[in-house]
Every structure is written in structure tokens, then in C-alpha cells.
Amino acid sequence: MPVDTKRIRGPEESQSPLLFLSPGKVPEASSRQGVRGNGDARPVFARCGLISQAKGSAYLEAGNTKIICSVYGPREAERKDETDMKTGRLVCDFRLAPFSCLKRGAWIQGSEERDLSQTLQESLQPGVCLHRYPRSQIEVNVMVLENDGSILAHAVTCASMALADGGIEMYDVVLGCTLRQSGSTCLVDPSYSEEYGSWQEGYGEDQGCVTVALLPNLNQVSGLTADGEMREDILSDAVRSCMDGCHKLYPVLQQALMRAVKKKAPPPAK
């Protein structure tokens, strides 16, 4: 089991101070502090082209969730056991910074992060024209700086913006949206306390979380992750609301990408 051996641990009897904190009040799922409705996603701030060493990069902020992504490539593929050399490969790395959650995370990638990396790769793959890059691999590195809910969805959006900024040919941007159902209310783009808060009440029925990755212009779903127990009709409604959320997000990304390309290069003289 990978263990962090570089840090000096405290004495054997020491306990984390977080155990002695009084548990904060869990906000009710029905109230959303009045600022946004149940079906509205948080306003998004997106910028591209901030990492100069990387081929493409993007930064996304939604509420307090902050995600940064960098894209390298196409590079020569490592060729481990590849049978098909005619298309390229997409390698995704999803990392949560140790300071991103309330409880300090480990530097070494845990199983949850590996799972999210795999989901991210499966969601992005249908969007990228890999057949244009034979024998190469494109590396996508996502780092979550602050986790305030629905990180997978925003990571997918951030990664596809970084790929677009890096000049990788794609069929379409991939946008992500999350929906959280607890009891009778469905919340689009939940924050951390909304997403994890009601799990403490126990795993009952009608408690679930759905994340959808969508290609808006082609109207194709490239990734779907669902967790919890939900009824079938609610699940299909949830997927539809997520798709609506993605469509609403699209103009913001378009503007951010256009601004980035205009800044990078002036129009060709002709």
C-alpha cells in the first residue's frame, strides 16, 4: 500500500483536531441560500492559455470549485501493448490537490482519483479526432485546486477547453454537468455540502448523483456516471436536465475560447 514516508508523524497517541470539531449544520437540500434555483448551474469563469509551457491549458471556476488543466502533445506514444497504431492515444491524469478538500489528501493518487481519470478519458475520447494523430499520445493533466462539488463534470469541461486551446483537432467540445437528487429535490451543479451533506443521513431511496458528459452540437452523450439509488423515471429526467445544463454552459465556453485564440494570434493577413 503506498504510504507517505517523507513526513514526520506525530506521537502514537495523537489524534486529528478535526475529530473534536462540532459537526456543522447540514444545510437542508431544499434551500439553496436563495441565490440560485434548483435547476440553475453556478456561474462559470473560464480562461484559456495560462500555462506557457504546456501546449494548451484552461482554468475553470464554478462557485468555489477551481480546476486547472494542461494538455501536452501529440507526443511519441510509449507503445506498451498497442495493437492499433493508426490512431493516437489519450492519456488522462486526474489529481486532487492535497489542499483541495476539507481533510488533507495524500500526494499519491488514490483509487478514487484513478477511477475519475478513467471516466475522464472515456468521456473525452469520442470528442477528439485521434485518427489524425497516428502513433502519438496526447496527455491531459487535470488538477483540482479547490473541491466544492461536481468536480468530474467541471473537469471534463475544463479538459476539453484545454484541448481546444492546444490546437488538438476535435469533433466537438465535451461539456459536463452534475445533478444531485436527495429526497424529492433535484439540484443541478451541487456544491460540496449539497453533494456530500445528505449522504450522512444514510443511503436511502431517492438519493443519487448523476454526471453527464455531452457533445452539444452533435447532441451525443459521451459519458454517464450515476451513484446511489434512483428510480428509473427520475434518472431519465435527471439526464435530460443535465443535458440542458450543458447546453446553457456552451456559450460561455465559446466566448472564452474565442478570446484566447484572438489573444494568441492576430488574424492572418489576407
Binding site: K55, G73, P74, R75, E76, R79, D81, E82, T83, M85, C129, Y133, P134, R135, S136, A164, D165, G167, E169, M170, Y171, D172, V173, L215, N217, L218, Q254, L257, M258, V261, K262, K264, A265, P267, P268, K270
Partner: protein
């Protein structure tokens, strides 16, 4: 004019798709974020392409002339790092192999790699194939215009080509064997 992903540019009856575009259901869509260029080739239909920045990242393709640097030699082949594709430099180095039988067009079995290349030489080669799983890009220098362009002698000076198979060091006047490229006069700079 500006374009963004998957924006429908026009139908296939109006234009031919160029770089940065893809075809779907009889329409041409953009696959890059950039500027749309419409060029009139003169033949039938104009070519529409999406251009980004200065130069697009090229990958070595079959039949392309590449500039590479020899890293190691072997009685059977020479391993190279591909540095330039055509005239655009690559940001990441790709690996290539020049097999013994691909060094020359004539007398293929009598070739000695030690007398054709040395590590550190800059070579002009052509890509024959992308290679399979195990091997790298396969290159060839079996043409008059392909082969060593820049080489340093054992004394360290840059050598001058004398014939297609010899180069001479200007300092020590020693001759060394290389498979020299006959560079076209317009590419030579004083």
C-alpha cells in the same frame, strides 16, 4: 473570419475540406478553433480550411522528407531522432530507424553503416512507413538528394563533401566515408 468547433462551415457541394475540418452528413464542420480560410485553387472548388496560430503541428507522414540526427549505429540499422518535418521544427522528438538495406539504392548488401553514418550526423531522409508496434518510423536515404548533410570529423571540424560517399575535414584533410546527400543548389547558403 472566425470559427469555433463543430460550426457548420458549408456543404460539400460548395467547397473541398482542407486541414482542420471534417465531413459529416455531407457538410463540412470545423474541428479547430481558429480562422477560416477559403482558397481558390483554380480547378473545381475552393478549399476551405481552419488555421490556427503560426504553424500547425505536423506529424511525420509517409513520403515526407524529414531532417534527423543519428543517435546510434549498428551493423544492421541506424537509430535517429526526427527533428524537422519538411521545414517545420517538431516540439517533441520522434524516433526513427534507417535499415541497412535502405541506405543506398544500389549494392544494398554491401553497405556498411559505419561508412555511411556516424552518431551526431544530420541526415535528410524520407519516411517509408509509420512502423508497427515494436519499431519506430522507418526511413530511407536511398536517393541522390537524401543522406548526410552536416557531419563533424573525428577532429571536431565540420566536414566538406567531396563525392557521394566521402567527406573531407578542412583542418586535418582526412577523408571519411559517409553517404552524402546531393543538396540542390538553391538550398545551399554560403
Amino acid at each position: 473570419r472566425f470559427s469555433i468547433f463543430c460550426e457548420r462551415l458549408c456543404s460539400t457541394e460548395d467547397c473541398i475540406p482542407g486541414t482542420g475540418t471534417y465531413l459529416r452528413h455531407g457538410y463540412i464542420f470545423a474541428s479547430l478553433t481558429g480562422y477560416v480560410l477559403r482558397k481558390n485553387e483554380g480547378e473545381e472548388l475552393p478549399v476551405i480550411s481552419v488555421v490556427r496560430e503560426t504553424e500547425t503541428q505536423l506529424l511525420p507522414d509517409v513520403g515526407a522528407i524529414v531532417t534527423c540526427k543519428v543517435t546510434s549505429i549498428n551493423p544492421r540499422f541506424a537509430k535517429v531522432h526526427i527533428l524537422y518535418v519538411g521545414s517545420t521544427p517538431l516540439k517533441d522528438r520522434f524516433r526513427g530507424t534507417i535499415r541497412k538495406e535502405d541506405v543506398r539504392a544500389t549494392e544494398k548488401d554491401k553497405v556498411e553503416t559505419y561508412k555511411s553514418f556516424r552518431p551526431g550526423d544530420i541526415v535528410l531522409a524520407k519516411v517509408i512507413s509509420l512502423g508497427d508496434v515494436q519499431s519506430n518510423y522507418l526511413l530511407t536515404t536511398a536517393e541522390n538528394e537524401l543522406g548526410v548533410v552536416v557531419a563533424h570529423s573525428e577532429a571536431g571540424a565540420q566536414m566538406v563533401p567531396i563525392s557521394w560517399c566521402e567527406m573531407q575535414c578542412p583542418r586535418t584533410h582526412a577523408k571519411e566515408f559517409r553517404k552524402v546527400a546531393r543538396v540542390q543548389p538553391e538550398y545551399l547558403q554560403a
